[in-house]
Symmetry: C2
Subunit: 376 residues, 2 copies
Amino acid sequence: MKFILNRNVFLNELNVVQRAISSKTTIPILTGIKIELSQEGLLLTGSNGDISIEKFLPKENEKAQLLIESTGAVVLQARFFGDIVRKLPEELFTFEVLDNLQVKISSGSAEFVVNGIGADSYPHLPVIEEENQLKLSIRVLNKIINETVFAVSMHESRPILTGVHFTLEAEKLLAVATDSHRLSQREIPITDVSQNFDIVIPGKSLIELSRSFSDEEETVEINIMENQVLFRTENMNFYSRLLEGKYPDTKRLIPASFNTEIEFNAPSLMAAIDRASLLSHEGRNNVVRLSIQADEVTIYGNSPEIGNVQEELTFKKVSGDPLEISFNPDYMKDALKAFGAIDITIKFISALRPFTLEPTDNGLSFIQLITPVRTS
Amino acid sequence: MKFILNRNVFLNELNVVQRAISSKTTIPILTGIKIELSQEGLLLTGSNGDISIEKFLPKENEKAQLLIESTGAVVLQARFFGDIVRKLPEELFTFEVLDNLQVKISSGSAEFVVNGIGADSYPHLPVIEEENQLKLSIRVLNKIINETVFAVSMHESRPILTGVHFTLEAEKLLAVATDSHRLSQREIPITDVSQNFDIVIPGKSLIELSRSFSDEEETVEINIMENQVLFRTENMNFYSRLLEGKYPDTKRLIPASFNTEIEFNAPSLMAAIDRASLLSHEGRNNVVRLSIQADEVTIYGNSPEIGNVQEELTFKKVSGDPLEISFNPDYMKDALKAFGAIDITIKFISALRPFTLEPTDNGLSFIQLITPVRTS
């Protein structure tokens, strides 16, 4: 196996595949990156057991300047290999597998010889079934991820909650995440789909996935297999395991009627919550209090050791009963961040019941729920 | 005490003073920042016992929009105070000391009330003696710091080596740092100076000092007091304690005659050393080997577990005996970084004796020394 390649093009491929590689794995071969050269181009594979990424560099890619002298495969320690290629002196480098699986990487007058591992011992990735497919624009998929993944649980005590629940039913794709204190749910219409599904994808996989897409690519094909999901673009296969178990029924959590409603501009509410949380972060209870009156809406934060803060909030519209309610400002900040720079409506039942946040102009296709904190 | 002030101007002052404040201090009042308002302007003071910084904002500063309603002084917890001011909603803010030393900080509709501490309990800084003064351009001082401070020792086993040794004698300012494995020495001519001195300034103080200068200021006045040095610019007083004890006599360390000399372009040697050190960092001995022949100069690095690297180096000129020498590549990289983008000359006696690096065109006013590593 021997090839010549453009260093920077190769580094871009390598950076994506390295997202899947962890130095902490218990399976030694997975600390390596698999490099396979065929007459069609170069395939890089990385995996940590939960996520696997395959990235293909076709020989037609002109920027890559790929010159294939002989085909083959080898596994190299990912950690050093990236550093070596990054620091090579010239634009092109030569990669050659020597005897004893040693690999010679040379560029200009610099020549590295590093120990490789046989590619045969690298685990095989699942075979792709083409039945259960769904096509999405990467922009839409990234939006759904950003709108939900922050609300997954960070605790392994209920592993199923560390994932985002995706269901496809009646031509609607529903994504829900909850850590049992707050919930975020996004729905989008989907047409032209072969089969319904109900899966839970680990939050960590979704975060890595959304970072792995390259800017040129526009759509992604989603293949659901047993225990696995594959996100497939023209030159990347991103596999994630699925979480096993039954996701809780979250539909019944979202209330239908409310007693108090208020509209805010999300970024200006965000800035005020951020100020109010400065001191509450220092107290034993990380809580801020919102007081809603017909003509005055005020937020309070305090820490007995440091001091207190209060701010009269600018709001768009308020209706219903007056209310005093306390909540974790970090949940509110996460929720507001997911909305971006729009107007939102917050709807309350009472001081002790979960409240909802939605875009003012956009119905129920995106809704978030936060459980208040009981004080006194 | 009450004033109105521009938030961003204030933050710039605060950021400098906060460099001196540590949350780890054993003296609780030093976790605070002292804020003193006189009819002349606002003085901020921070200290960690080793370093103290006073920053003065004169009322004449137009950008500050300082409006003095009443003078006074108070100490506030530095950690929260910076965050509060950073997040205030409007360009101006009002700062008012209430009863019980509480401080009200308000801007727009946001109002913080935080607990203050009486300024009387804040330690007094040394009184400035104007006798032992030296004026330097900040550019030159920063250059001297950057050229020497990296070579101070990080180990407290010989505390005196954690500082840079500054001596002024015969109209020459000499700065020397050594951790006993390598040494860096810079000399600059100084005229118009009242008195000679011999002091050791902690490396940490010098690093903070060079980060504290503002871009507008051009010269700094150095006052040496008992156990202290004060760096004084128009609106800043930066105090550092001095290290006590006798600095070793480093003059005798620099060899006078050599057997091998070689000239390199510093950045290109740096890149090659960087590559060679990639693998040696992984081995038990962090060592690279340089082989100098009349017509070929090669660098080698290896790690038994990973592999090896070799590179033929481009050099400007070589003379003297052939040589094989091993050294710590990190010392070499630090030294080359301090030279910047120039040509340098490295002079060797033998494989086991320290070698020197100097700018090729610049005589002995800047010289670095590295002790080789004995291998085999």
